[in-house]
């Protein structure tokens, strides 16, 4: 709120300053010769430009784009204000400063245009960033309460999308070996911690294009666009090695955590694909 008051003070100060300059440098025109229409339109433009300037300043974080937009609008405000004051005070034809002040209007428009160009760049960058994150996964759309990963429903949705793609895509499932024993011997809270540890370890070792989901229970799924089944299998082996080298502790006791995996080439109906891969995991 402080900032709003400060911006407002500056704007009002500028407007009053201009008025003082005109009072000092010119002679008042009698009321009968005022052109009401001009005064209303130019004064109104100045007032509205002041409001737009305030909106920009209050709703955007500080930065180049904000400064350009606000500065442009402020110039337009002052230019129109000078025009408006010109109607009320008679300034001699020789006084150059009056012309300079009125030139603030076109200058403001130029600055505003530049600001808008940069604003467009900024928007493009932002949406590019968002698009990447969406594709990318990670905590962006937390579905699962424990691991903050996407769930099986999201995986099926992505598999359906992947079907339309020409490029190869590998799907890998990971199970934590003897996870039920961690739950039985250390309690479900420790089991949840182990799940989080594995999720982190997997995330750190994935490519940006990969999608990690918690399928259900102790089963994770990784979708690897652009990889063939063979490449996916290699990547999965690496992930298993990384997790098995991790040191996980339940209380002060070290609990070995190892993974086993099953890999398939994504394509075909998601439900059938996942059912077949789960069967493969059970047999492993």
């Amino acid at each position: 709120m402080n900032l709003v008051i400060r911006h407002l003070t500056v704007l009002v100060g500028l407007l009053l300053g201009f008025a003082l300059v005109f009072v000092g440098g010119g002679t008042a025109i009698p009321l009968s010769e005022w052109d009401g229409m001009d005064i209303v339109s130019e004064g109104g433009t100045a007032l509205l430009a002041a409001i737009w300037c305030m909106i920009v300043l209050c709703s955007r974080p500080d930065g180049r784009v904000t400064r350009l937009l606000a500065g442009g609008l402020a110039c337009i405000m002052l230019g129109s204000w000078a025009d408006c004051l010109d109607e009320v005070f008679d300034i001699g034809k020789v006084a150059l400063w009056d012309n300079v002040l009125e030139a603030l209007l076109p200058l403001g428009m130029l600055i505003l245009t530049a600001g808008m160009v940069y604003w467009r760049h900024e928007q493009a960058n932002l949406s590019e960033h968002l698009r990447k994150r969406e594709r990318l996964f990670r905590s962006h759309r937390p579905f699962d309460r424990i691991t903050q990963l996407a769930d099986a429903a999201y995986l099926r949705e992505q598999l359906r999308r992947e079907r339309r793609n020409e490029q190869p895509c590998a799907l890998v499932l990971f199970d934590i070996d003897d996870f039920h024993r961690i739950n039985r011997e250390h309690g479900q809270a420790e089991g949840d911690r182990a799940l989080q540890a594995v999720a982190h370890m997997l995330l750190l070792n994935l490519r940006n294009d990969d999608l990690l989901c918690r399928y259900a229970g102790e089963r994770f799924a990784v979708l690897m666009p652009g990889l063939t089944q063979q490449q996916g299998d290699d990547a999965a082996r690496h992930l298993c090695r990384m997790v098995s080298s991790m040191r996980h502790h339940a209380g002060s006791r070290r609990v070995p955590v190892t993974l086993r995996h099953g890999c398939a080439s994504a394509g075909g109906a998601p439900d059938a694909l996942l059912a077949a891969l789960c069967r493969q995991m059970d047999a492993a």
């Binding site: 039920h180 739950n183 479900q188 089963r219 789960c278 069967r279 059970d282």
Partner: protein, 351 residues
């Protein structure tokens, strides 16, 4: 006279199954008020108090609703067995093999699984364990089945040290959260069947488990037998009764008198379990008919005779009414794996 327990009679020790559900809800940051709503247990669960089946069901229903997560029933199941019911739980842990474990579970079902009654059938090289309602809770039935199946699968895995190759049949359509079934139970799932059952090759029944001790098992069973038995819920008791008398065309009046109450009271009591006599009788007759189809390879004529129908056509019509299917398609599917429990291929395609 047959012993049975009404839906609103306090019979389940609060410190056992009810405490488990409450603790699970609490560990997931659900306030007690939400978990105990409409249970009438406003003061919480006193350690040595008893809870009625309907209160326990309400508590479970509250927990499932408050957590609103597809894995709740499975996680509750993981915690459920062997349980903490003294000698009965101990008998489970000491079981030297799968057969003794399943038989103990069925024998002490009123203590170990008060909501669903497990029944074991074996024939040829198949062992089948199916779950029937012990208290009657139609809306919770799918979650209860998930919970109890997970409990048994997890217990066998723990005691046996390895995952058993169970196959599962569900009396429901394919759920949206099938991944939970795949991970917590196994990949061999059939939906749209007439029974909630789990099957395993009978060869697993007598394979000794690690740490198995026949003697410890015998002693544990003796200790459990020595304790006063808990009375099963009315639907569980009625199922057993009807199965025994299915050939004598049981009636409501006759059954009520065998259960020691008037027909009107009997009806009212069944209604408290959200069921009625005819529904229970039809269910038992369906199960018997399926068993005859599968094990005896019986035709409609024989099954009709066995169940006391006038003729095959009559039986066929009734069977259609019970299951929505005529015996033909079911028998046709029998030759397929798991066939006798499944609907025709079209209906099972979702599995």
């Amino acid at each position: 006279m047959i012993a049975w327990q009404g839906a609103t009679e306090a019979s389940i020790p609060a410190r056992l199954q009810p405490a488990l559900a409450l603790e699970y809800g609490r560990s997931h940051d659900v306030p007690d008020a939400a978990l105990l709503r409409e249970t009438g247990l406003t003061g919480g669960l006193a350690a040595d108090s008893l809870v009625s089946p309907s209160q326990y069901l309400q508590l479970l229903s509250n927990t499932l609703r408050a957590l609103d997560s597809p894995d709740t029933s499975f996680m509750l199941g993981q915690l459920m067995l062997p349980g903490h019911d003294g000698a009965a739980s101990h008998a489970l842990v000491q079981a030297p093999n799968l057969r003794v474990l399943l038989e103990s579970l069925c024998r002490f079902h009123a203590r170990l699984t008060p909501l669903l009654r497990p029944r074991l059938e074996t024939w040829g090289d198949v062992a089948l364990l199916y779950w029937v309602d012990a208290q009657g809770a139609p809306s919770l039935r799918p979650a209860l089945v998930e919970m109890h199946m997970t409990a048994l699968v997890a217990l066998c895995r723990w005691l046996g040290g390895a995952r058993l190759p169970w196959r599962f049949c569900f009396n429901r359509g394919a759920p949206r959260h099938v991944e939970q079934h795949q991970v917590h139970l196994g990949a061999e799932l059939r939906f749209g069947c007439q029974l909630d059952a789990m099957l395993v090759d009978a060869a697993w029944l007598d394979r000794p488990w690690p740490r198995a001790s026949e003697m410890a098992s015998r002693l544990a069973l003796q200790a459990a037998d020595a304790e006063p038995p808990r009375t099963p819920g009315l639907p569980a008791a009625l199922y057993d009764y009807l199965l025994e008398h299915v050939r004598e065309s049981p009636t409501l009046e006759r059954s009520a008198s065998d259960f020691g109450v008037s027909p009107a009271t009997f009806k009212r009591q069944l209604l408290r379990h959200h069921t009625h006599f005819q529904g229970e009788l039809d269910q038992v007759r369906t199960h018997v008919a399926l068993w005859l189809f599968q094990v005896r390879r019986a035709d409609n004529e024989e099954v009709a005779r066995h169940l006391g129908f006038h003729d095959a056509a009559n039986f066929r019509r009734s069977f259609k009414r019970w299951t929505g299917l005529t015996p033909g398609p079911i028998r046709a599917a029998i030759d397929g794996e798991l066939g006798w429990l499944s609907s025709p291929p079209g209906a099972a395609a979702g599995a």
